[in-house]
Amino acid sequence: MKFRCERDVLVETLGTAGRAVSTRSGLPGLSGVQVELVGDQFTVTGSDLDLTITTTIEVSGESDGKAVIPARLAADIVKALSPGAVELSTEDDTLRISAGRSDFSIRLITSDEFPKITDIDAKPVELDAEQLAHALKQVVLAASSDDSRPILTGVLLAAEGDSLRLVATDSYRLAMKDIDGIELLSEGEQVLVPSRALGELHRILANGKSITLRLGEKEASFTVEGVTLTTRLIEGDFPNYRGLVPDHHPNTLTVNRTALLDALRRVKLMAPQEGTPVRIEMNEHGMELVAVTADVGTAREVVESSYVGEDLVVAFNPRFLLEGLEVAPGDDVTLLTTDELKPALIKSVGFDNYLYLLMPVRVS
C-alpha cells in the first residue's frame, strides 16, 4: 500500500475511526485501526466489537493494500507532522509515515487479530441529519452510563404512528422525542441502540445533511458523508415507558424556560454537593427556587411564572432539572406535577413531540 494525502484530512480520518478503538481491551488487534487502499479510496476502520467506525477518503493512491496499524501512535505521529502532504506506505510488517524531513517506521499489528466487519443486509432509510442530531441531543443525555444496568444504557427507537420515537431513561429521568414523518420500523417494532454509539453518531452528524440508516437483526449502521458507524444492538426489554408517563396531573406551572434556567444556575451554587436538591415552591403567586446547604447558606429566587393547582414543594436534583430544561425546545415550558413524590413532567409550550419526565428527591 502506498499513497499521499493532506495531513489535516488524514488526522481527521484517523481520529474519527480511532474513537471506536478500545483503550482497555486485552486484545492487541483492537488497539489498532485497519487501513485499506483500493485505487484512490482510503478506508480506516476502528472497532471495539460493540462499536465500529469506518471512514473513507479520497487520496492519491499508488498501490493497493491492507494492514492494521497502531491507532494512537499513528494518529499522534500524523498530527505532529508539519502541514502539507503526508506519504503512507506499508512494506512487509512496517508502516512508513513520511512528510518533509520526518520519517517514521512503525511495526504493523497482525491483521488476523482484527475483527471481521460485515455489512448489514437491510433496506437503507434516509434521515435528515440535522433533525436527528437535534433529537439525539435531547434524548441521549437521559440514558444511564452505568454498565451494570445495560438495558438503561440504550436509547429506544420505536415506531409511533408515522413518527420515529426515541426514548432514554436512567431510571431517575426519562426523555422522549418523536421525529415526525419517518417510517423506519413497522408498528410495534423497536430496537435498543447503545447510547455511547449515538453519542459518537452525534459528533459526526455535523458533517452532513443526510444520513443513511440500516437496521439489522443484531446491528444498526449509520452513514454520513463517507463515515459509517455500526453498532451492536442491546438485547432485552426496555422498561414500559408508556406506563411511567402520568396521563393526568393536577398541578401546572408555566414559566419562561430561559428565566428558569438562569435562576436555577444561580440557586444551584448553594447546592454544590452532588445529591443536594433544589426545591421548587409553588403557590398561587407562582414559583420560588430554594437551595439550602447546612453550615454553608441558603439561596432563594422568585421566578415569574403562573401556577394552577395545590400549594406544593417539590425537590429535584438540580443537574437533572438543568439538563432537561437546556434541551427542551421553545420559549415557555410547563412543569406538570401530582405531588412531591410522583414524577414531574416537563413539556414545551407549543411542542408536542418532546417530553422530559423527572423523579423528585425525597427529603427526610
Binding site: 452505568d146 431510571s171 429521568r173 422498561p239 411511567l244 454537593q273 445529591g275 443536594t276 425525597r362
Partner: protein, 406 residues
C-alpha cells in the same frame, strides 16, 4: 500530645509506667504506631518495622492498639480546644492547629491560653501535651516540637511543655534548626540539601532563592525559602466534613489466594458502609487499592448511578473492580474506599421503583438491623458471612461471644 497512643495505654495500665512500650503489631509485618520515650531511648521510632524495633530493644513491650479508645480521648481533647476557639484544625488524632487571635479578650494572651489548655488536658485526661505558640502554622509546629521531651545522650529530657516564639525572635529560632525540621523536607530533599552543604534552616535562609530553586525545582525551592524565613500565610482551617472514607489492611505475608482477598474486600466494604451510615452519608464512587509486594500500587474506581451506604452493594462493586487486578504476584495491601459523598437525608426517587426500589428498601431494612445489633452487642457481633475467615482471631471478627443482656 506526647507519645499519644502509648500514653493512653500507660494511663490505662499503670504497671507499664517507665517501661519501653510500643503500640503496634508484633508480627513479621508489624509496624510501630507509637513508642514511649523509654522505648525511644533505644532508638525505637514510630513507623519503624517491629522486627527492627525488637532488635534495638529486646525487652520491648508490645501493646495492641485500642483505636476506638484513642478516638474517644481525641474527641474529648478536641472539645477542650473548641472551648477556647472554634478555629481548630485537627492534623491527626493528637495534633491540631488553633487560631487564638480573636480569643484574647476572653481567655487572655496566647501564652496564657497555652498554659490553660495544657493544664486542662492534664487535669481531665492525665495526659501530657506540648504547645507551640507562634504567628504562623509552620513556626508554631516547630515550636511545639522544640518543647517536647527528647532523648539526649541516651537520657529522657523532659521538655518545656510550652514554647513561645515571638515575631522578632522567629528567625533566630529557625536558624538553629536542622533543615529536616522544615515541613516538606523528607529524606530525598534532605540529601539534596546536604549535598549543597546546607545543614541548618539558617543556611537555607541565607541562600538566594534562585539557587534553592535550581537545586529543588521552582515550587519546592520557593516553598522552602518562605518557610526558612518564617513566612507561612496558610490560615487555620476549621475541620471540614469528610470527602472520602476508606479502610485498608496490610497482610502479614503477601497474599495470592483470591478467596482470602475477596473476604478482606467484603469485610472492608462492610466497615466502610457502616461508617457511611453512622455519618449519615452515602457515596457514589467506590475505589479499591491494591499494593503488590514490590510496593507498586493500583487504584481502580467506579461511579455508580445512585449513592449507597450498603455494604453488600459496595462489596459487589469493589469485588468487580478487584477482579481486574492481577493478584498472582502477591498482594501486600488491599483497601476499599468511597468518595462522592452525599447526605443520606436526600433520596433521589426512581421511576422504576417496582424493580430496584424494593431491593433498595430491603437493603435499608437490613442495614438498620445490622446497625442496631452492633449498637447493642458491639461492632463484631454481626457481619457478612463471606468475611469470616477460618481463623477468626486473625483479624476482623473475634471469637468473643456476644453478651446477651438479661
Amino acid at each position: 500530645m506526647n507519645a499519644f497512643f502509648v500514653s493512653v495505654e500507660v494511663r490505662e495500665n499503670p504497671e507499664l509506667v517507665g517501661l519501653p512500650v510500643v503500640v503496634g503489631g508484633s508480627g513479621p509485618r508489624g509496624v510501630i504506631a507509637a513508642a514511649s520515650y523509654e522505648a525511644r531511648v533505644f532508638g525505637v521510632r514510630s513507623a519503624m518495622p517491629s522486627s527492627t524495633a525488637r532488635r534495638l530493644c529486646p525487652n520491648l513491650l508490645f501493646v495492641d492498639g485500642h483505636y476506638s479508645l484513642y478516638q474517644q480521648v481525641s474527641n474529648r481533647i478536641m472539645s477542650i480546644f473548641m472551648s477556647f476557639t472554634p478555629m481548630v484544625e485537627p492534623l491527626s488524632l493528637d495534633e491540631a492547629f488553633l487560631d487564638v487571635s480573636s480569643a484574647a479578650r476572653i481567655h487572655g494572651e496566647p501564652e496564657e491560653i497555652a498554659h490553660k489548655i495544657r493544664s486542662t488536658i492534664y487535669k481531665t485526661e492525665s495526659l501530657l501535651s506540648t504547645v507551640g505558640v507562634a504567628s504562623s502554622k509552620s513556626v508554631a509546629k516547630l515550636a511545639s516540637e522544640a518543647a517536647k521531651p527528647r532523648i539526649v545522650a541516651g537520657q529522657i529530657t523532659s521538655g518545656t511543655g510550652i514554647k513561645v516564639v515571638r515575631k522578632p525572635d522567629e528567625q533566630a529560632f529557625l536558624n538553629a534548626l536542622p533543615v529536616r525540621a522544615l515541613w516538606g523536607v523528607g529524606p530525598k530533599t534532605n540529601t539534596k540539601l546536604e549535598r549543597l552543604g546546607l545543614k541548618t534552616v539558617g543556611d537555607i535562609a541565607k541562600l538566594p532563592v534562585e539557587v534553592l530553586c535550581g537545586a529543588l525545582g521552582e515550587a519546592n525551592g520557593h516553598h522552602l525559602h518562605r518557610l526558612a524565613h518564617g513566612n507561612d500565610d496558610r490560615h487555620v482551617e476549621p475541620e471540614r466534613s469528610a470527602k472520602s472514607i476508606s479502610h485498608e489492611e496490610t497482610f502479614e505475608t503477601d497474599v495470592t489466594d483470591p478467596a482470602v482477598l475477596h473476604a478482606e474486600i467484603v469485610r472492608m466494604s462492610d466497615a466502610v458502609a457502616s461508617r457511611l451510615r453512622s455519618a449519615k452519608l452515602r457515596a457514589r464512587t467506590i475505589n479499591v487499592k491494591a499494593r503488590y509486594g514490590s510496593f507498586e500500587t493500583l487504584i481502580r474506581s467506579k461511579t455508580i448511578s445512585a449513592p449507597t451506604s450498603n455494604g453488600v452493594q459496595i462489596a459487589e462493586v469493589a469485588a468487580e473492580l478487584f477482579d481486574q487486578v492481577d493478584v498472582a504476584s502477591g498482594i501486600r495491601l488491599v483497601g476499599v474506599g468511597v468518595k462522592g459523598l452525599s447526605d443520606q437525608s436526600f433520596d433521589q426517587l426512581s421511576l422504576l421503583d417496582g424493580e430496584d426500589g424494593e431491593v433498595q428498601h430491603n437493603r435499608d431494612d437490613v442495614d438498620e438491623v445490622i446497625d442496631e445489633v452492633r449498637r447493642r452487642f458491639g461492632g463484631t457481633a454481626i457481619g457478612p458471612a463471606a468475611a469470616i475467615k477460618e481463623s477468626r482471631t486473625a483479624s476482623g471478627f473475634t471469637n468473643r461471644r456476644p453478651v446477651i443482656p438479661e
